[in-house]
């Protein structure tokens, strides 16, 4: 029987025609099946399966989980959250272009007549570059988390309350994230992101770096306009963590596998989870919550962020490039040993040497790839991610307004496991 390597985010194997049909149905629903193969969704033939089946994995990497016949219906976000997200994109692009609007005005007093120069308009190229990622219709995942957490921390149980300041936190988190993406693409020498050219591919490295600085500076101003020194400190911590995380990623230690794993988890916290955690904590502070609730919000964000990154690292091995928007196997090519690799190294000590030399010799990447797919690493990574998702979900009950919005936060947490990109 032929195996299909992946479908719907999990590693699967199909022993029966029923399973194959279910898989093709799901692919068709998600628009991933070409027209010519639509009939496969309703009746398959084995030779067609063989033709389209990607690289055949070994038996060990398959699980026998069947996917559902119908994909899970996604719970819709509350309307007020969706409204905030819609305006977010528009307002940020406007603000970065220098046109003032109600909320995002960055509030800096420019003394009259102090600048005796002809035009204060921000240069066109800078505007274009700064807006580039924001106008691409990204997932806005981080703002969504911040907004839902804000609603869940509200003490006004009947009202859908997200204050303007909490909305600003959502915006700031997305801006910080974007600035870090711009710099990461320069450091990693990436040409594509979300299936489009990167800022550095279009405009050069130096300009990309400066645009990243610009976005970060604007984010800082927006943060300051909230006028809460504690929140400014909390969010500034994210910026420091992002850089430290990037530094941690550059170094490989010659130490035990446990130490290496701890290093990976700490780096993951700094590079990814910190932003979620501190944004959640900030909105909790702004909601006037006590320290316990603040800590709960922080821990929710942290666990969510850890799960998010673990799944990202998993998808780098199992997803197809088109879905991801960037080349798969990118981490290995950058010399990074992520969770699947680290787990696999416990079974295959030969991987250690490859890890230490950051997969730099020819064929290292391919060898490491094969090791991972032949190991239990992917399953263990998913298991670890699940633990974090469940921990996040567990914490929701302690939030003040969880009765109204808790289910959305639970969805956010658990849906990590279903992600395809």
């Amino acid at each position: 029987m032929d195996f299909l390597k992946r479908c719907n985010g999990s590693t699967l194997c199909y022993f029966t025609k029923r399973c194959q049909r279910a898989c093709f149905s799901a692919l068709a629903y998600k628009g991933l099946l070409p027209e010519s193969m639509m009939d496969l969704a309703y009746g398959s033939t084995s030779h067609t399966v063989r033709r389209i089946a990607p690289q055949i994995p070994s038996r060990r990497s398959c699980t026998t989980t069947l996917i559902q016949e119908q994909p899970k219906s996604k719970r819709e976000l509350p309307q007020f959250v969706q409204q905030h997200l819609d305006r977010l994109q528009l307002e940020v692009t406007g603000a970065l272009a220098g046109t003032a609007n109600d909320v995002i005005s960055f509030g800096v007093h420019r003394p009259a007549g102090a600048v005796e120069t002809p035009s204060n308009k921000i240069s066109f190229e800078l505007q274009e570059m700064a807006k580039y990622y924001f106008s691409q219709g990204g997932k806005l995942y981080r703002p969504t988390v911040a907004l839902l957490m804000a609603a869940s921390c509200s003490h006004d149980r009947m009202l859908e309350t997200v204050s303007e300041n909490q909305y600003k936190i959502a915006v700031v988190s997305e801006m910080i994230h974007t600035a870090s993406l711009v710099h990461d693409d320069v450091i990693d020498e990436s040409d594509t992101r979300r299936n489009r050219p990167t800022v550095n591919a279009l405009w050069g490295n130096k300009m990309a770096v400066l645009v990243g600085d610009y976005i970060l500076a604007k984010a800082t101003q927006l943060l300051c306009s909230i006028g809460n020194a504690q929140v400014v400190s909390i969010m500034a911590q994210i910026i420091e963590d992002l850089v430290k995380g990037e530094f941690m990623q550059m170094g490989v230690r010659d130490s035990s596998s446990e130490a290496r794993f701890l290093h990976y988890m700490q780096k993951t916290y700094k590079k990814t989870a910190s932003l979620f955690a501190n944004s959640c904590k900030s909105v909790a502070v702004l909601a006037g919550c006590n320290e316990n609730i603040q800590r709960t919000a922080f821990e929710y964000g942290k666990n969510l962020g850890m799960a998010f990154q673990l799944i990202d690292d998993l998808l780098d091995f199992v997803a197809q490039s088109a879905t991801l928007g960037k080349p798969a196997g990118a981490d290995l090519k950058l010399g990074l040993a992520t969770a699947p690799v680290l787990f696999a190294a416990r079974e295959y000590p030969e991987l250690d040497r490859l890890i230490l030399r950051r997969f730099s010799e020819s064929n290292d990447v391919q060898k490491a790839w094969d090791f991972v797919l032949n190991s239990d690493g992917l399953r263990q990574t998913r298991q670890l991610a699940r633990q974090h998702c469940e921990e996040a979900a567990r914490l929701i009950a302690f939030l003040p307004n969880s009765a109204h919005f808790g289910e959305h936060l639970t969805d956010l947490a658990m849906s990590q496991l279903d992600r395809e990109h």
Binding site: I187, L210, Q221, G227, A229, G251
Partner: protein, 326 residues
């Protein structure tokens, strides 16, 4: 780079700077805010050595910073400290006590810790910007070891980010959102400066464009920092704030003009100061005028009995007085 320019500074300038440094107990180093470098960060600093033999801008910058000191960056920190001290003197004179005049008095009272941190933050931000402006584009990696140049880029970006992150945290710890916002505007403007010179990559800039470029590149941050120094002194009179802003802006302009003139109009390193499309005479006139205006601004707001005020005026004169230029 600026190393060669330091040598050409006049004796008046050196004297003025030395006296000012003594007055404000200037340690000349911003590394006190970065007291703990982790393993990775220390490794990174050492990694810069791998760039030896390449022409990556980062190598030159690192040499200038760590072996020669970077004169223009330190001057800006010094100016912020002087303005801080002047502001504190003003505050004291407004509340009836005497301003501090001699260098012998306990210097630590004359400048608040927060203001010292502000000066350090300003230096860190200028340094970060310098590092980031030294990132190479792929098209520029024509000669030499491309792998090493790519490493140089990574180090430049990360190094600059590291400094900016430190600055952000330090700014947040000032617990003065208005100050943080001001400095952030300075950072945003510095990023924008490079885009202006995109239009005229190799030619000298016309005066108005040059003026705006210099404002964005260095004037804005210095102006906002001087204003912030006043805010940290707990003074909030709007005309005082505006005036301090103007002083900072003028000093940066004066500094840039004097750089152009002391190197006879040919600047080796285009990263620092672009060339201006003006005759030498016109440039002198403009510089002298700015110097006079700057001193007027200082006199209109700050007590002349303040040692810091005198010191600041001395520095401005050393930069802008025709007789002092070599």
């Amino acid at each position: 780079m600026l190393f060669s320019q330091i040598v050409r500074r006049s004796p008046q300038w050196k004297r003025a700077v030395a006296e000012a440094e003594k007055l404000v107990s200037y340690s000349g180093s911003y590394l006190s805010l970065q007291s703990s470098l982790s393993d990775e960060e220390a490794n990174l600093a050492l990694s810069v050595r791998k760039l030896l033999g390449t022409k990556h801008p980062l190598l030159q910058t690192a040499k200038d910073l760590f072996y020669n000191g970077n004169n223009s960056i330190q001057t800006r920190g010094l100016v912020v400290l002087l303005v801080s001290q002047a502001a504190n003197d003003l505050k004291r004179s407004l509340s009836g006590s005497q301003p501090s005049t001699s260098a012998g008095t306990d210097c630590s009272e004359k400048i608040l810790t927060k203001q010292r941190h502000l000066a350090e933050i300003v230096e860190i931000v200028y340094t970060a910007n310098l590092l980031h402006r030294g990132v190479l584009d792929v098209a520029q990696m024509t000669s030499g070891n491309v792998e090493k140049l790519k490493l140089g880029n990574k180090l430049a970006v990360l190094g600059g980010d590291f400094l900016l992150a430190n600055a952000s945290v330090a700014l947040a710890n000032l617990c003065a959102p208005q100050v943080t916002s001001s400095v952030a505007q300075g950072i945003a403007d510095m990023s924008e400066a490079e885009f202006l010179s995109l239009k005229h990559p190799d030619r000298a800039l016309p005066q108005d464009l040059w003026d705006r470029t210099i404002y964005l590149q260095s004037g804005s941050l210095l102006a906002h920092s001087c204003k912030s120094a006043i805010l940290l002194a707990d003074l909030d009179d709007q005309s005082l704030l505006d005036n301090s802003f103007t002083i900072g802006r003028r000093v940066a302009l004066i500094y840039a003009l004097s750089e152009i003139l002391t190197t006879n109009g040919s600047v080796n390193n285009k990263r620092e100061t672009p060339e201006i499309d003006m005759s030498r005479q016109e440039t002198f006139d403009w510089l002298e005028n700015q110097g006079k205006l700057a001193i007027e601004s200082i006199n209109s707001s700050f007590p002349s009995s303040s040692g810091a005020v005198r010191s600041l005026k001395q520095i401005i004169r050393a930069l802008s007085d025709r007789k002092c230029l070599v």
